[in-house]
Amino acid sequence: MSGLVGEAAGATEIVPLAPEELPAAVAELIRGGGRMQMAYAWHAAPGHIELRYLASRRQGKDFFMWRCSPRGGRVPSVAAVSPLLGWYEREIADLFGIEFTGHPEPYRLVLHQGARPVAPPFDPDYPANEPLPFTPEPGGLPDLTGADVQRLPFGPVRADIVESAEFVFFYVGEHIIHYHPQLFFKHRGMEKRFEGRSLAHATVLAERVSGVGSFAHALAFCQAVELAAGCEVPRRAGLLRSLCAELERLYNHLHYLGHLADTTTLKVGQAEGKLLEERAKQINGRLSGSRFLRSLLVPGGLRRDLDPQPWLGSELERLGAEISVYTAMLENTGSHLDRLITTGVLSYEAAFDQGATGPIRRASGFDHDLRRDHPYAGYSEFPPTVPVRTSGDAHARQQVRIAEIDASIALIQQILRRLSAGPVRTDCLPPPYSEGLGWAESPRGSLFYAVHLDGDGRPARVKIKSPSFSNWRVFPLTVHDSNMMDYAINEASFGLTIAGCDR
């Protein structure tokens, strides 16, 4: 094999596998208690596309990757064995032109029907700056007709200040028979934008993949590069990274509660949630200069030191007390809870098979959190408590988030007590043609960055596995066979973003 493919991506073990061995290997992994995480493709050498399958053999065990080269542009689909891989395969088919034989859903995913790229968009000579030829065409919808069946397309431009996506409902009366979210209207080709940028620019780019996950995205990117470089981030930088990551969780979860209260028509509850979110964002601004905690991270640590002591602790104590009153009221409001309990139930099995992540999977009884199970930044020194609920409904999802708010504040306070002076940055120079995998438990769940560097130590391929990509795949399962009245509440209880999914 050429020197382009290292046998280990930093600390991530890489195991070669022949295409025909894939389905059996995946099945055996799952039988043995392992779980697939994602799959992606990259150009390992000119004209040579290689597939990567990220997995863990058992909960808490190190991640490893299979690498596999398609034969004649084809590879057997493993979506029937591990359903969560279905979307990854379709994405690779759209963007790399690889065929997954025997795929149960052989449709486009990322590229819309009617988009006619002149070559697979990840081809090295694809004209990235030319507009993509496109004439919208219907497609991708099941053939669902019947005397009483109505079809309601909603979007991509919807009411209120929301992200763009189109939701199609097939329904009879109040009852939803089938729900199809048409996503990827916002596909910006972000992964390709990383190619050839300097590491500093690439970090700024990562901060803009999903605005409300700016810190987690940049963190996962930096950690991937640091792994490739074998560089150790100073303790103070690691602790401050965890601190900021928890602040990101805090404002996101407060936003979530305000939005959820809005859908159950709890107007004061909405206003209070949004006000608390605002206060949290202002704390971010005061600490970091950015309400989204941007412009801080760089491979090797932080771009500048932060000064959270002593004010942040007392500020959070005040905010935390108000949050406790607020969340206790939410948990005591019958009209709010009535709309959440038994709404949008996601079973443990579906959460596992389809790849649910973050608070969604923890609300379905799946005890997993990258911060605790695969610690990074300051989390090995300060592991978080991980709340889990088992009922899998909208109420469980609210409860998990409320408990995570408390856990985040507690964690930040612990870090503040143990934070000592020290450097916050070290050199980070990944060797040519190295690669690394970075991850973070973002507010919405597991986020992965797989980064392959070129001969100048700049990104040649960046794969972003965002939590909303995973949870959008799962969400429709809780909508089919439910009713229209619950839809908005159920959607809010998932707390999805579209930018992160579409990229």
Partner: protein, 205 residues
């Protein structure tokens, strides 16, 4: 739920002071767009331009051979990399979190003499004298804009008090507010929203 009503009343007023009020704006510590002091630039230096990820800065030779710094604030993403890169403190951090101009050209900072003032694109603002209704369309944003636009309606900013409203329908809208770079899949939907708006109409993007 009576206790929510009581709670809401107890909370008192959460709203920040008006535009003219001094007081707490809530934006303490926010880093704004960089400020440039070209007179501090050393010759032959283009560190800031090289550091900028969005090509907002250009350093060009003018006809006399001198360096000319030009900054397009319309491209700036406020990343502060130029400030860190500048060896001469010619690019400095500002705390100007509020930044607004009426013309695109006013976002250009250049040491060249200003061109003749262009004719104003909008002849009159009479169309929204009393209130402004905004139709927002996300044409491929990172969701950061939506997060902050939603925040405008929170009790702290309470945009309604200025007579500014977000409307669900383009038919009632005076202003089309576009976020994101306009992806191929959003182009048509965006055009439809614009065409559905009554005249006079404005676009902010």
């Amino acid at each position: 739920m009576p206790f929510w009503t009581l709670f809401g009343l107890q909370q008192g007023q959460a709203t920040a002071p008006g535009l003219k009020g001094a007081g707490e704006t809530g934006q303490q510590g926010l880093l704004g767009m960089p400020r440039f002091l070209p007179e501090r630039c050393s010759p032959e230096c283009d560190e800031c331009a090289a550091a900028c990820p969005s090509a907002a800065i250009t350093v060009e030779k003018d006809r006399t051979g001198g360096e000319r710094l030009a900054v397009d604030y319309g491209r700036c993403v406020v990343c502060q990399l130029c400030v860190e890169a500048c060896p001469a403190e010619a690019a400095i951090t500002s705390f100007d979190w509020a930044f607004g101009v009426r013309e695109r050209a006013d976002l250009l900072l250049t040491s060249a003499p200003p061109a003749a003032a262009p004719a104003p694109a909008v002849a009159s603002r009479a169309g929204f004298r009393r209130s402004l209704h905004i139709r927002h369309v996300d044409a491929g944003s990172c969701n950061g804009c939506e997060s902050e636009l939603q925040a405008l309606n929170n009790p702290f900013y309470n945009l309604h008090r200025f007579g500014i409203f977000f409307t669900p329908s383009p038919r009632f809208a005076d202003l089309l507010l576009v976020t994101g770079p306009v992806t191929y899949a959003m182009r048509e939907a965006l055009r439809h929203a614009y065409e559905a708006m009554p005249e006079p109409r404005w676009v902010m993007a």
